[in-house]
Subunit: 600 residues, 2 copies
């Protein structure tokens, strides 16, 4: 008799899948999928981050990768039960491949696979020393040649990068580089972080003083060591700075602060990088096999070039250089831009007693922080979610299981609900002249972030100041030029100014690669970030994954790492496994390496 | 119909208990207890740490405390089920009192209470901001008077102890003081830690270089922020040092390093301490209401005074001052003592190529580390226990639920099993002349620790060196005197020596109080530590709890905190609640304050 309980349905399907895959029969396997199916693979099958959309793409991938991957032992994950709701059967699954153990997620519709997520959990033979397998620390017994932990750590710090080359160099020691380095240390990959600031956390400490995380704590955990239960929902920047500093210390990362990376080049023959850094006024040449750019999406400020900037007698700086409002009480401030930083800076300047005008050049997506938390994030990332058993790892995987192709369909209703809930708020903003949008297809903040990484403000208070005119607003205008003591806008308005802040965003990570390596390599790699959705600032063709992030690029040995804290945490697992496999000589044939359509 | 399932039995009993207590009827309540019953209360009923043994003590306590305590709402704890095995029904329970919420543990035998543990979980109205109630961090909205988190932290650090007095001063910034201060910060009790070393963790860093924790990681967590899953089983001292330093930082503790506490006195009229400390070569007077001595059981080295110590030309120091073996290769070393430090130091000296003799003056209890972990600790503190759902908090409470009066009965079989398992090991040690014991009643290591805090070695390798003579052993002798280049033992043996290490243990915490405050106050408070078991170094009468630890002493406003990492973590909760209640003016009538029978 056919088992109609959810576990039975999943077990039956997995048995058929196992048979088809073991028989090396992609056609049979594909019959188990819906027509509108999605198979998202994080490294387990493709050595890539890749979504196969539809049966043809699934078949092609299997035809190319089955023989190598040799998947087996498909099963409902240990300790889990499948569930069924609204006609969809869902289950956590586990499987093995020839070289790895996998974990995944499955959704069945009408008995066939609608979405399948396969991820590499660990490489066989290179499991992380965690839990039952954690290190002993003390080495019992006696050994005249023993070194203490401290002697070994001190020796490593003295040698790595000097007399012994790291396998991997990470440029950028913010949360992205730090989390990835922690994973690599666990995997035994000798890694050195290069960071221009003195201490871990300085990239937060040096930002404008009112900055707090815009994402809540449940979304922000780093790998291995979650924030404690007394950690604030929205951590202030200096507190995050302290956390990153201690994290780098207790995770025993090799971290060169106050070190500037000057140039890097790749020797294709030796398959090795030459990376020149300046540390303590001394040039040091590193020769890692792998180079990770983890400078973040905020590494390269977009500093505009307006007529008259050289004449202006007041203070002017990019938002990334803004020191905070303390010096501007009673002064006239003009802030160019209308995204997160612009709002935060305007509000802090107003609080400090400055006369503030925001210049909004184009429409902005605004969401109130509490609405975003309650309607947008709480199912996966909230105290209630934790209480419901949605661990951080599960939340990350559930999110990863939703194919980018249809993610906006899940997001649009959320933002429709937010628009309804906060209708009065939005009305007041528009009445003040503020130009609002909700994304090209009304899919809201997270899609904007994934597509273009900009164009929004998570409201924590500035909107009220704009709505009632305490922060003055000039919208639908640009900046034409500056005079000695004013800015001239495109509608002819002259605004007297003692301070101009250019909250004009950041350049592509590709631009950083051009500066560091060469324009040729940057062009070869192409645009970093974006899905190819063919919406504003995210030109097509459709890529289905974030371009060049956490996965092989067209340049061997060059990787991009970053994103928000959630992405850095989650994808660092897969980037670390890709690097470890290469170090150990595990074959890593990349399936479906992305083509380059845009240079930046 | 009588419900015979475990939940039903517990629910029935709790209903009867609730009725009797609500009726303020101790006699009726006592009828629900076994004749050989134990009620251990951590602060909830007694504002003390107290075990009532037998019905009479239970009745007396209830008669004294019921009216104030007004317990109610007894129930099986949320999400828990009672269990039954070997005729014992066990259950986690919850209850309320007039001022607090309580959590506890119950064992029923023949339908009556055999053991009852009641603990205070939180004071009503003063709940900790954790989880659902964690702080927001960012304060949304706008506020011209707002200070950033960093500005507030900097201001607090600048003011506390200078222009604003802490409510509580903790002397000693090791793991004990740090964990307690973290709890107090959570409870909003202004607290200052005074520590003579420069940085948190230095008390570990400065010990002999081979030192690792002797207790495994699962036993060692600090409050709120558990070690990550990659933390070693036995952490090396410098790694623990780093952890404590970062913990103090991220928990935002007010920590004055490089500060020496010179003297303290209590003004009974003002109910306030005057504590004089020296910081940056400057005397500062603090006037807290509460003074906690958290200098640990290793604060006051027992430095012996032997004839000829002034003549000796080699190096000699107490084990606490031993720098490690590096300078003693090829040298002759004599180590006086045979407990943990003595063994560790002997082994490290041997490894470094010294000629080492251990002088064992009296018998020592030895347990192999892996046997202790597997047979002694694993049910509560191990990776398997965690997997079985025994969280650290539950493990602590289960341990706390076993009355000290009968704890040895649970321990004796464990050590009998260890003696059988390691019979050959013990035989070899005795054959080498080593004097072994297993505690006065064969109850082993943990009872020795609770009773006297000394007299044992957890073997991590030194025993093999002793058994086969690589570490030389002189046992059942004492040190009589030193000459310029040798030590003379009580049996007339002369041992040439370049180094003498006095691993002679530590003085009572009471002695530290005498030095800091006065001999009068130290005498008034009496002996610190020990149960009154009338075994070696733990004179009676029976106290039933550790003397003066974590609970009110005979000196108002003076508290002792410490113990191993498990005890510091667990009892800091109850000490913190006692201090918070006093700060908030919650009535804290102490029931059964211990009498003083021994001065030190």
């Amino acid at each position: 008799m056919l088992d109609t309980a959810p576990n039975g349905k999943v077990t039956t399907l997995l048995a058929l899948l196992d048979e088809a895959l073991s028989a090396n029969d992609p056609d049979r396997a594909v019959e188990l999928f819906q027509t509108d199916c999605y198979w998202r693979d994080l490294v387990a099958f493709t050595w890539n981050i890749k979504t196969m959309e539809g049966k043809d793409q699934v078949r092609d991938m299997l035809a190319a990768r089955l023989a190598d991957t040799r998947p087996s032992n498909w099963r409902i994950a240990d300790g889990e039960d499948a569930t069924e709701a609204d006609g969809i059967v869902e289950s956590w699954i586990q499987f093995d491949t020839a070289v790895a153990r996998g974990f995944g997620h499955l959704r069945l519709k009408d008995g066939r696979i609608w979405t399948l997520l396969t991820t590499m959990a660990e490489l066989k033979g290179f499991e992380e020393p965690l839990g039952f397998d954690r290190p002993m620390g003390a080495r019992h017994g006696v050994d005249p040649t023993r070194k203490t932990w401290k002697e070994e750590r001190d020796a490593e710090a003295a040698e790595l990068g000097i007399s012994r080359q790291p396998y991997c160099v990470i440029i950028g020691g913010g949360q992205g580089g730090i989390g990835l380095a922690a994973r690599l240390r666990q995997l035994g990959v000798p890694t050195l972080i290069i960071e221009k600031n003195e201490r871990p956390g300085d990239s937060w400490r040096k930002r404008y003083k009112s900055l707090c995380l815009h994402d809540p704590v449940w979304y922000d955990h780093l790998p291995y060591l979650p924030f404690p239960p007394n950690w604030p929902v929205f951590a202030p920047k200096d507190k995050i700075g302290d956390w990153l500093e201690m994290y780098a210390k207790v995770m025993e990362l090799n971290y060169w602060g106050s070190t500037v990376c000057k140039r890097a080049s790749y020797d294709e023959a030796k398959q090795e990088w030459t990376v020149v850094v300046e540390r303590d006024c001394q040039e040091i040449t590193l020769t890692p096999k792998q180079l990770v750019l983890a400078t973040g999406m905020s590494a390269k400020p977009n500093m505009p070039n307006f007529e008259g900037m050289d004449l202006f007698k007041g203070d002017q700086h990019h938002s990334s250089q803004h020191p905070g409002p303390d010096a501007y009480k009673g002064k006239k401030a003009v802030v160019i831009g209308s995204n997160n930083s612009a709002h935060d800076i305007c509000a802090a300047l107003w609080e400090a007693g400055a006369d503030v005008t925001m210049v909004q050049r184009s429409s902005t997506h605004v969401v109130k922080s509490d609405s975003l938390m309650e309607l947008g994030l709480s199912a996966l990332y909230s105290e209630q979610a934790v209480k419901n058993g949605i661990t951080t790892a599960k939340a990350d995987l559930i999110f990863a299981s939703l194919p980018y192709k249809i993610l906006h369909e899940f997001q649009i209703p959320v933002y429709n609900a937010i628009r309804e809930r906060d209708a009065d708020f939005y009305r007041r903003l528009e009445a003040a002249g503020f130009m609002l949008d909700y994304g090209d297809d009304d899919s809201g903040l997270f899609m904007k972030y994934l597509r273009r990484g900009s164009g929004y403000y998570i409201d924590v208070g500035a909107c009220d100041l704009i709505a009632d005119g305490r922060i003055k607003l000039k919208s639908n205008v640009g900046l034409t030029r500056l005079t000695e003591h004013s800015v001239i806008l495109s509608d002819g308005t002259e605004l007297p100014a003692d301070l101009v802040v250019y909250a004009t965003g950041y350049g592509s990570m590709n631009g950083f690669a051009a500066d560091l390596i060469s324009q040729d390599v940057a062009d070869k790699v192409g645009k970093v970030w974006g899905l190819g959705s063919n919406t504003t600032k995210d030109p097509g063709p459709w890529e289905g994954e974030q371009r060049n992030m956490w996965k092989p690029t067209q340049q061997d040995g060059l990787w991009f790492h970053g994103g928000n804290l959630h992405q850095s945490r989650h994808y660092s697992q897969f980037l670390a496994l890709q690097l470890k496999a290469r170090m150990e000589g595990v074959p890593t044939l990349v399936y479906g390496r992305q083509a380059v359509h845009h240079l930046n």
